[in-house]
């Protein structure tokens, strides 16, 4: 059984936001206008969190790309009243959009605030409507959405492997953000395989997880910078 995980090397991350752009294009994330964005209605499946440390003049700003942590013990799954959010056997936390009632309990329970809500019917400029990704379903008004580790890519890779009559290899499956990262700061693979890159990196001295003390056990591991 695979256990998919991601490693983000903050030493390499330049904060260029290519991962965000790639994710938006890959996952049909609605375009939120400037007015609504100012109200905090943007939707991002991965975004750069600004960590501001210290005070002027000894101030230090760091950027940290944050996808869904796909926790081993997710707070969101427990609280969903209709079981619309779930973890599959490979540990990917997903949402059944057609079952979600939009109560936003998961969005308030997630300590990482990764979940977004569709305040309106999602919209795209006319020019973009033809280029939506057909592998990813479009979320309607009033449901919650979040990063799926590009689960559709996993399904595709698995089908491909089946057709080619072979086992699925870790290399077959990679989320859009990892693929697009120009500075090679992101890694993706099987944490259960002791020899995979992510597995080796996750045991490195620099490795840490976000809000580790909450016991959620994220499957996104960061490598701290400046060491």
């Amino acid at each position: 059984m695979h256990k998919w995980g991601m490693v983000i090397d903050l030493d390499r991350c330049s904060g260029c936001q290519t991962c965000m752009a790639a994710c938006h294009a890959e996952n049909n994330i609605a375009i939120i206008g400037p007015e609504e964005s100012a109200m905090g209605r943007t939707i991002h499946w991965i975004e750069l969190l600004p960590f501001i440390e210290g005070e002027y003049p000894h101030i230090k700003a760091r950027l940290l790309p944050r996808p869904c942590m796909h926790c081993e013990h997710p707070a969101c799954i427990k609280v969903c009243p209709v079981g619309a959010t779930y973890a599959n056997e490979e540990g990917i936390v997903g949402i059944v959009y057609s079952r979600c009632i939009g109560c936003r309990y998961c969005t308030t329970a997630c300590p990482y605030t990764v979940r977004s809500f569709n305040w309106y019917k999602p919209q795209w400029p006319k020019e973009m409507q033809g280029s939506l990704n057909r592998d990813v379903s479009i979320r309607g008004k009033g449901v919650v959405e979040k990063c799926s580790f590009c689960h559709h890519r996993l399904l595709k890779a698995r089908e491909k492997a089946k057709v080619e009559k072979r086992e699925l290899l870790s290399e077959d499956y990679i989320p859009a953000c990892v693929q697009a990262c120009p500075s090679n700061a992101m890694y993706f693979g099987d944490l259960n395989d002791p020899f995979s890159t992510v597995s080796i990196l996750s045991r490195e001295r620099r490795a840490f997880k976000l809000l580790e003390d909450l016991g959620t056990e994220p499957k996104v591991i960061y490598l701290s910078e400046g060491m």
């Binding site: 944050r66 939009g102 109560c103 605030t113 305040w119 809000l211």
Partner: protein
């Protein structure tokens, strides 16, 4: 007794609201309907366009609707719980107030539930809760507990209504067929009375743990998450206390209105307000105790993640709400309720209105500041409820008042048979009871 075997005597005034309806009633009725229609329009707008028409955003995903949910469910503790406790304690002064309390419970529950349904992004899918229930979610516990509470308190409202419905049936007024059905063939025999008393006491006992469970699980919606200042073991009792607190206040306001509008000064006497005022005073102090404990624990521990929220409430952008809550929940009602001189119908009314406002603010101060401060850096958004949310809130209040008014037009709001029973039987009963307490007076 006339030929129908029926004589109301002094209690005829209790049927007057049912028999006669004045101009003021219709005026109030139409203004309430206007507010409700306005609110319905606002909700339809929200249903069509999405929750974007509210002031909510990321990370403040819950706002006025969830505040209202907790608030209305809290108000519902007025009735059944107070009335059940007073009945079991054999408090004789309960007789003319229990009905008006029980009605609040049943009616206001619909608005508690209604608010959480209006908060859904996809209300059309609400039945998913029954089709795909996920019992690990505290929201499901709410669904269970509130349904049981609604059922139990409806039965508990209905049982003591039966003899009064029978009076209306025999009285030859309007809607005879309606009263005939619901009187269930009551004829006032010894056996029927015995069964009724049994049923009422059983329901009174049953309803107390259910009521406590309701607001406990409402608090669990917050307390079960690991969010700072929500994840607190004190939330269960804190919420139950707050619920009873706001419930008594709502009851006092309702009784004041009934007393004035239907001229029931003889039934709802200053002593009732005095006694309820003392109860409200006890709850004021309990509320302060819980609030103090909650915030002192946070402050003394001084965890940064909690302290951000703490200071936001004490001195930050939620300070007006927090101090408003403290003013309305404690500083205003405490002196009014402390003195015999001010514990009058009018005095308790002012204290109660203050408590109701304060308790709404308390719910708001619990829900929103925690959400405004997630653990990870976020966009600093402000939450201003929009006209849609305020309209829906106004509509809920108006709708509740409307239903309450209609109830008083269909059923006597003061239990006729219980008042009569008090007059005829309980004097002697109480005397007997007191004798059993005292040494030196032989009781066989």
């Amino acid at each position: 007794m006339d030929e129908k075997g029926f004589n109301l005597g002094d209690d005829a005034i209790l049927l007057q609201p049912i028999q006669r309806t004045g101009k003021t009633f219709y005026l109030t009725l139409f203004s309430l309907i206007a507010v409700i229609l306005w609110a319905a329009g606002a909700y339809i707008y929200q249903y069509r366009d999405g929750l974007g028409v509210t002031g909510l955003s990321r990370p403040i995903y819950w706002g006025v609707y969830i505040t209202n949910f907790v608030f209305f469910i809290g108000i519902s503790h007025a009735g059944t719980l107070i009335s059940a406790i007073l009945r079991l304690a054999k408090a004789e002064w309960r007789r003319s107030i229990t009905r008006s309390a029980e009605v609040i419970t049943v009616l206001v529950l619909f608005f508690g539930v209604g608010n959480i349904l209006m908060d859904l992004g996809r209300p059309d899918r609400m039945l998913n809760i029954l089709q795909y229930p996920h019992f690990q979610s505290p929201l499901l516990w709410d669904v269970l507990s509130i349904s049981v509470y609604l059922t139990a308190s409806s039965v508990y409202l209905y049982l003591p209504l039966i003899p009064d419905i029978a009076i209306l049936r025999d009285h030859g007024g309007r809607y005879q067929w309606f009263y005939r059905i619901f009187a269930l063939g009551w004829s006032g025999t010894e056996r029927q009375h015995h069964l009724l008393e049994k049923g009422i006491s059983f329901m009174a006992i049953l309803v107390i743990p259910v009521a406590v469970s309701v607001h406990t699980v409402v608090s669990f919606v917050f307390a079960m998450t690991i969010q700072p200042m929500w994840h607190s073991a004190i939330f269960g009792p804190y919420f139950v206390t707050g619920a009873i607190f706001s419930g008594i206040a709502a009851l006092i306001v309702a009784m004041n209105l009934i007393r004035k509008v239907y001229h029931l000064e003889d039934y709802l006497r200053p002593v009732h307000f005095n006694n309820l005022g003392i109860l409200l005073l006890v709850m004021t102090l309990l509320w302060f105790y819980f609030t103090f404990t909650e915030y002192l624990t946070t402050f003394y521990g001084g965890e940064p993640i909690h302290m951000t929220i703490f200071w936001m409430k004490f001195t930050g952008k939620f300070a007006p709400f927090f101090w408003g809550m403290f003013l309305f929940c404690f500083i205003i009602p405490l002196p009014i309720l402390s003195f015999n001189k001010t514990r009058t119908p009018y005095g308790t009314l002012i204290a109660s209105i203050s408590v109701i406002i304060g308790m709404w603010l308390e719910r708001f101060v619990i829900v929103v500041p925690t959400l405004a401060n997630p653990r990870l850096p976020n966009e600093a958004v402000l939450y201003f409820p929009t006209w849609v949310e305020w309209s829906v809130f106004a509509g809920c209040v108006a709708f509740f008042i409307l239903l309450y008014m209609i109830f008083t037009k269909l059923f006597p709001i003061v239990s006729i048979w219980e008042v009569r029973e008090g007059r005829e039987k309980s004097m002697a009963e109480v005397q007997e009871r007191i004798k059993t307490y005292l040494p030196g007076i032989g009781v066989e």
